[in-house]
Symmetry: C3
Subunit: 201 residues, 3 copies
């Protein structure tokens, strides 16, 4: 299996797990949890595709995504006591997913000739808006808005590095890999050090 | 008038009424209620059309829908004391609407060659996401997530039956009719028996 | 600079400021505020473009909008103590923006041959849905639904006047200007007099 396919699957799984766990804390019923798992996992890419007009959105055309999320969901429900213990593994996948999805959004933007700022925004939306919709549905002020540092900040910095590396003409594969690693690294660091940004007020 | 046109109109009316009544409970002003009536009624189909790229969305092209909802809204405001008494009629229309809108979503999916799981998801979105957006706007954890059994569950089961009946090659009209009746029946039963799904936690 | 360009920029700036200030009140961190500033400013136009299929949405193709909002955001953060004092200037720009964005939505609708009611709805969405999404993200019952009179009502009345003036065949530029002024005027009046609509219940 290709490197990117693995990360993609890992990211999808991690987001599906994190959505399910968030729903359990809010005491949703089984189907409510399934909806939350889906939305967290594919919400960001869906918004991106709706913004750029890449329609029908991808997951409607590819039932393997639907199967992957449903399978992850069922396993999460069955194993939830164990999964809550493996918090570190979750953060790991979640951070890899953040990196991959940001890269994916940037590439989708480049494919339709968008400029740098638009591409970075698309990447950040792809990576972060699934969690944003999850929080809206669960009736909370989105975590994204309160703890940006561990969501949007790594994506934005990673996106800037991506275009910087393009400037110095590194090979494409290396740029992709480094972008994911940068986002992954900042995310892990921010979670570990519990870093937070200054408030605006 | 055709059978499906009647159900379609009935569903639209029922959802417009249920949105208006939900807004009244939250003490919205007149235009706030109108917005909620619209969103509840056409929200699901709008999200579906935005996901599959069927744009501009239908109701922008067909002012009869706008007139129908506005008329229903005005009547609901004027007659609201009576409408709250006719709760059963509302559940009836609401359940018929659920059946029709699910069928409609499935058919839209088939028209663009989506596979079974994608079609059932589209059907469920068409039937349930108007109410979902209504609840988000009214700042509640969506009813869909807490009481799936009377929303998404009938749609998903009805959708599965639809494709099962396709397999055994029943005539199309019969399949359509039975799908609506199955969803309608499960919904009515679930509301009557006050059935609920197990929580995930 | 053209008259409409000025109003457009003024409206974008006003909405970016109002989003930032709303976020500060909710104690978001810096990037959370930036997200809110963007969403408030371009949310309405984005929803409109997604509904009519005008994709990719405009601001993805025009980085000057992104720069304008980011610049406004930075200035708002730096000058926030002063800006809160200049509340009247904000209402002024906000109301001009409301007028301009309504007109813009109507024109986009006419460009794809939508009829009157659909055009007015599009105009209202363009002008009001940025604030609606802002409120959803900040986990409040949208202000739009509670205080419609100072949001949707001026847009709807202005839209009706637009089509009335078309009927009596005034010159296009005059119609555009008068529509903005009517919406602006009603808005300012409603804010000043603290007018509110009757509740539905």
């Amino acid at each position: 299996m290709e490197f990117f396919t693995i990360i993609n699957i890992g990211g999808t799984i991690a987001f599906a797990i994190s959505g399910t766990l968030a729903g359990i804390r809010k005491q949703l019923d089984i189907f409510g949890l399934l909806v939350i798992a889906f939305v967290t996992s594919i919400g960001g890419g869906t918004i991106r595709d709706m913004l750029i007009g890449h329609l029908p959105v991808r997951w409607l055309l590819d039932s393997s995504v639907i199967l992957l999320i449903t399978g992850t969901f069922i396993l999460t429900i069955l194993l939830k006591n164990h999964i809550e213990k493996i918090d570190k593994t979750l953060t790991l996948f979640d951070s890899l997913g953040l990196g991959f999805f940001t890269l994916r959004g940037i590439q989708e933007g480049l494919a339709i000739q968008l400029d740098m700022s638009a591409c970075i925004i698309l990447g950040t939306i792809t990576a972060c808006f699934g969690g944003l919709i999850r929080d809206i549905l669960l009736n909370e002020i989105p975590y994204l808005l309160r703890k940006e540092v561990i969501y949007a900040t790594p994506c934005i910095i990673g996106g800037l590095c991506y275009f910087l590396m393009k400037q110095i003409a590194l090979p494409n594969e290396l740029i992709d890999l480094l972008t994911i690693l940068i986002i992954f690294g900042i995310r892990i660091l921010a979670v570990k050090k519990n870093i937070s940004l200054p408030r605006g007020g």
